[in-house]
């Protein structure tokens, strides 16, 4: 890769990552949301990995980080659903906006997103889905880049 690419890719990837975080956080107002914002953050990380290579990349992503974050994202979604199941009778009930009025008011103020709009747990669901998609897409690209070394060792 040429010297111009190696000079400006790292600052630009920081700008792209912050834009992806902004898209995740505005999922209930603007077009976008969890899946789209997570793909944008993964795009920024993959940009750095391709231009610099796996050894010299500024983002050092280990195997434990990938598996931990993916588990955190998927389990966060399930636990938000289970919280709705145990307080009311419904799985993934929107506890911030109590449409049927069947839970005490404590849970409505606890799970509500502090926002001008009354969106309930929808921004939290966007957040955990964004974490999961970001780590999942980066893991696939890192596995493809590392496979040459492992396949070359197996053939000898």
């Amino acid at each position: 890769m040429s010297i111009i690419l190696k000079l400006f890719v790292f600052p630009i990837s920081l700008i792209i990552i912050c834009l992806g975080i902004n898209t995740i956080l505005g999922g209930h107002i603007t077009p976008g949301g969890g899946f789209q914002g997570g793909a944008m953050i993964a795009g920024g990380l993959i940009f750095c990995i391709i231009v610099y290579g796996l050894k010299e990349s500024p983002f050092k992503i280990t195997h434990n980080f990938l598996s931990g974050m993916e588990s955190a994202g998927a389990l966060g979604y399930v636990f938000l659903g289970l919280a709705g199941l145990f307080t009311s009778g419904f799985f993934l009930y929107n506890l911030g906006v109590d449409l049927y009025g069947i839970t005490p008011a404590v849970f409505q103020t606890l799970f509500n997103y502090p926002d001008p709009t009354s969106a309930g747990i929808i921004p939290y669901l966007n957040y955990v889905v964004g974490i999961k998609v970001m780590v999942g897409l980066s893991a696939v690209v890192i596995a493809f880049l590392e496979s040459d070394k492992i396949l070359g060792e197996n053939e000898q």
Partner: protein
Amino acid sequence: MIFYIGPLVLGFFLGFIIGTRIKPSPESKLKFDKKVYAIVFIVAIGVAYLLGAFPYYQDIPLASGYASAIIGIIIGKLLFGRSKSSEGQIS
């Protein structure tokens, strides 16, 4: 006026998690020192001002999620982004 802490806290946390993964690589020829991060911070505040706030938010004229994300990345790098010798903290 009141600040809505939802985007500030969540954006800072995600930026902090990504900032802990920036580690310097000692054997390459490129060095990203403190000047680069200062310029990136100024450009990011400019981008946040030009983006504007979300439609129903009326507290500050910036994009609050964007600004707290770039602050989180820089603080995460300063706190945990050490060299490869002490990698056993968060891996």
